[in-house]
Amino acid sequence: MAKLKVALYWAASCGGCEIAQLQIGDKLLKLAEAADIVFWPVAIDVKYKDVEAMPDKSIDACLFNGAIRNSEQEHMAKMLREKSKIMIAYGSCAYEGCIPGLANLFNRQMIFDRAYIETESTDNKDKILPQTSCQVPEGELTLPEFYDTVKTLRQTVDVDYVVPGCPPEEKTTWLALEALIEGKLPPKGTVISHSAKSVCDECPRKRDVKKIKKIYRNYEIIPEPEICLLEQGLLCAGIATRGGCGAPCPQANMPCTGCYGPVEGVIDQGAHFLSALASVIDSNDPEEIKRIVDDIPDPAGSFYRYSLPDSLLRGARIK
């Protein structure tokens, strides 16, 4: 059987997904046996012309990580979609926008002003901003257009599979690669993970009574080692987050922040996290309820840490 052709590409991502792919360690060699990596900028000097030269659908699968932050990433996503039989959104950024998606709480102007004008160490009296096109003595220099809003891969092109996680855990990555190598891919649209249930299912901490009188910040308490972090008042997103990761964060005494995205079939992870949490607030008195919820200083960042661009509202409304 002919070797698979696989492309690994990054758009608006941090590189963690590449490291996660390297994390499969010696399984990399298995991958190398079964597939030719025809495109992988982080490690191989294969240039775009080679990819462009490939006929449509000649790549068997593209693992695309990173969100769509600018015009060229959009162009790139569409191009690779053309070239690939299977498009896999690999990692949280491609899947739901991830932490860089928090930029959707602001807009382009605000981000530029902060980065190039306001920042304390910036020396820019003339308020120069990067330009998509700019004349230098020798000619024109261009930069991609920075979008106002971060988009997910699925909001940009047709996506066949999703591999969740920021970054995906080694076993999740291998689950997807193995299915690919052995031609045992699940139905289109599947989010590939070892679990369809929430992280709680894999969390060894004991769960008892969900009644919340006070919400704590993670530096305010040293949590009991054995007990559910949410029940101790820490904002643990495990209840609203797909498992498959093995609940590493709660086992390191830190709350889950939700990087595997919503549980199977859930629309809007944040809204579900919010609703569940609010439901178990231990008070019927509106004033007290207000006091308790006001202890959450950053609802958007807490409930949509990774999924703001993929949420129903996608981001903030800027006046």
Binding site: K197, S198, C200, V263, A276
Partner: protein
């Protein structure tokens, strides 16, 4: 299924009620264009037989598998159209209604706006119905036994009614004997017949009834299950007397050297450490009060044991847990009598001759502390008695409600006093006389002819501070006579406080135990004050007697019989219908996070420790959807109100 959805849409004119404002033709045309809509019609009156037949025909002829009717409120006609669908062989849950009358044609005159809105409501219903699924109404068999909690007149009446109908009853009473408050009474108003004469036979009837399993000195500790199938854990407290051996001879009580204040006699007499509350107690088996028994306190004595010929005394006896299975529960836990010592200016507890209604009741009773004589502490007969109404009732500081029985028993007392102490002066201090019951007003008339002095006014204080010669050594009742609007001082020998009836001190715990609610006054809440006066929010659990609110014996007995009738109705039907639109948890998605566990007002959600998933008991679930909205995993489906259906409706309503 969905992709093959065949939807029929029917727009009702409701005469001109809808058609007058909404362009029903246009709406029908609009509906015809919606996805999966096979046929859309408008018609004069959809709820009429021809209208319903139109639907039935189309279901059969066009093979519709979804139906939408746009007409009036579903509250009005949802049932009608569901029935029509069912008659045509379509599951009623595949029907959806759009309310284009109350919510549309009737709320605006702007025809364009109304028509637009009607379209939106129809498209919402169409999109929603697309996702609707057939549901089956389940029926579960009913356990014909009944648990009755409380052995007062209410519980006894209900128990006998049900037992006499041939069904098993478990009657649980926490005191050593059944009887409750009524057993303490001497006479009953307005007929003045002797309480024990009418009551004692009932007690023994209960005691002997083959269908009644009596559990005295016992308390219900846990209730689970649902109508038709409750399980109750009952703790039988150790009596330290073997019920099977004891003959009720009473020797132990004679021989017991240790005494304690008698609860039954309201502390006016003493009973022994081993005792039955009263002579005609049922069962006639004593209990040892370990707080006053020397053996339990000091480890010595055992006199009772020595003298018991049948060797019924058993100091080693332990509390016993029994579990019973029943189909229905009647809660008849009665009331507490208001403690007047909190109203210090009435002098209760400070002055010997200020007594409570129940204490006076006992005094009048031939088997009571004074063998029925009305006596002051010093043993002499009172020459004058004041009866103060509404002590703790109709009083913002204590209970705002009227206790309903005080006026009448106060009248009864004046009669008893008149009977026993011919020439005594009797004063009634009242706010208003409330003589609402059958024969009550007449009783009042009669009493006023017996030379009782009625003073309309609230009593300010009862004091022994004499201002005049004649007040010396008397209790002076200071009150405002609101008819003469003057402060008056009435010197008397004895003061009777007509104390309020209040909810049991442990009513809250009991409410939680049976998962029923309480009204602001602390009494148990009936499901509907008029239409369901003995039912509660929990199917199969009924409340009767004073635990639901102060009432007299006739009303209590009436309620008891009513509850019995409701229970018998359930039993005779043999099975109960279980709501179909309930919540259901998908075990494939539930991670056992326990968010939902405490949210259910009906305790319908339980946790399966083995599988580590939560479960909904569909028989208990009322389909409110609170848990569905709370589930962070979307693992709970609210049948007939699924997220998918409502999301589709939202999209539809915004076209």
């Amino acid at each position: 299924m969905e992709d093959k959805a065949r939807i029929g849409v029917y727009i009702c004119h409701c005469g001109s009620n809808i058609a007058g404002t909404v362009d029903t033709k246009e709406v029908a045309e609009f509906a015809q264009g919606l996805p999966s809509v096979v046929i859309a019609k408008d018609y004069m009156y959809m709820c009429s037989d021809p209208g319903q037949n139109m639907i039935k025909e189309d279901i059969k002829q066009l093979g519709l598998n979804r139906v939408v009717v746009a007409s009036c409120s579903p509250i009005l006609h949802e049932h009608t159209f569901r029935q029509a669908c069912q008659d045509a062989g379509l599951n009623p849950y595949l029907f959806e209604m759009a309310n284009i009358r109350e919510h549309c044609s009737w709320v605006t005159e702007d025809q364009e706006a109304a028509t637009e809105k009607a379209k939106a409501l129809v498209s919402a219903a169409v999109r929603r119905v697309f996702y609707q699924e057939p549901l089956e109404v389940r029926e579960v068999p009913v356990n014909p036994s009944t648990l009755i909690v409380g052995g007062g007149i209410a519980g006894i009446q209900a128990a006998l009614e049900i037992a006499n109908a041939g069904h098993k009853v478990y009657l649980v009473e926490r005191e050593p004997s059944i009887g409750g408050h009524m057993a303490q009474f001497d006479k009953t108003f307005p007929t003045l017949d002797c309480a024990s004469c009418i009551f004692t036979p009932l007690l023994s009837a209960v005691g002997q009834h083959p269908n009644i399993e009596l559990m005295t000195y016992s308390e219900v500790e846990e209730v689970s299950g649902y109508i038709g199938n409750f399980k109750a854990k009952i703790r039988k407290k150790a009596r330290y007397v073997d019920e099977d051996k004891c003959t009720g001879c009473g020797t132990c009580m004679e021989k017991c050297p240790w005494k304690a204040a008698s609860e039954f006699d309201e502390g006016l007499t003493q009973r022994k450490a081993i005792y039955t509350p009263f002579a005609q107690a049922v069962p006639n088996v004593p209990v040892i009060d370990t707080e006053h028994c020397a053996y339990f306190l000091k480890g010595t004595c055992r006199a009772c044991e020595k003298f018991c010929e049948v060797k019924a005394i058993d100091f080693e006896q332990q509390d016993e847990e029994v579990e019973v299975e029943v189909g229905a529960v009647i809660v008849a836990t009665g009331y507490d009598s208001f403690d007047p010592s909190v109203i210090s200016h009435y002098g209760y507890g400070r002055y010997d001759n200020v007594v409570t209604a129940l204490q006076f009741e006992r005094m009048c009773n031939a088997s009571g502390p004074t063998q029925g004589k009305i006596l002051l502490k010093d043993g002499s007969e009172p020459r004058s008695v004041a009866i103060i109404h509404c002590v703790g009732s109709r009083d913002k500081n204590y209970h705002e409600y009227c206790s309903r029985v005080c006026c009448m028993y106060s009248l009864k007392y004046s009669h008893l006093i008149r009977e026993k102490v011919e020439d005594a002066e009797i004063y009634q201090f009242y706010i208003d006389m409330r003589c609402f019951g059958k024969g009550y007003e007449e009783f009042y008339e009669r009493l006023s002819e017996e030379g009782v002095i009625f003073i309309r006014g609230k009593v300010g204080e009862v004091t022994n501070r004499a201002l005049t010669e004649e007040e010396q050594g008397k209790l002076v009742v200071v009150a405002e006579d609101s008819l003469m609007s003057a402060i008056i001082r009435v010197p008397v020998d004895m003061v009777i406080l007509s104390t309020a009836l209040e909810a049991r001190s442990d009513a809250e715990a009991v409410a939680r135990l049976f998962n029923i609610s309480r009204s602001a006054d602390g009494f148990f809440l009936e499901r509907h004050p008029k239409l369901a006066p003995v039912a509660t929010t929990t199917e199969g659990v009924f409340v009767v007697g004073c635990c639901q609110g102060p009432k007299d014996i006739p009303d209590t007995v009436a309620q008891a019989s009513a509850a019995a009738a409701r229970v018998l109705a359930v039993i005779s039907k043999g099975e109960v219908e279980i709501e179909a639109a309930t919540a259901a948890i998908d075990e494939e998605l539930c991670s056992g996070c326990k968010i939902c566990n405490l949210l259910c007002p009906y305790s319908a959600i339980s946790f399966d420790e083995e599988k580590e998933v939560s479960r909904v008991n569909e028989a208990l679930c009322k389909g409110c959807g609170v848990c569905v909205a709370a589930c962070p995993s979307g693992a709970i489906t609210g049948k007939h109100f699924t997220t998918e259906q409502i999301m589709a409706e939202i999209e539809g309503v915004l076209v």
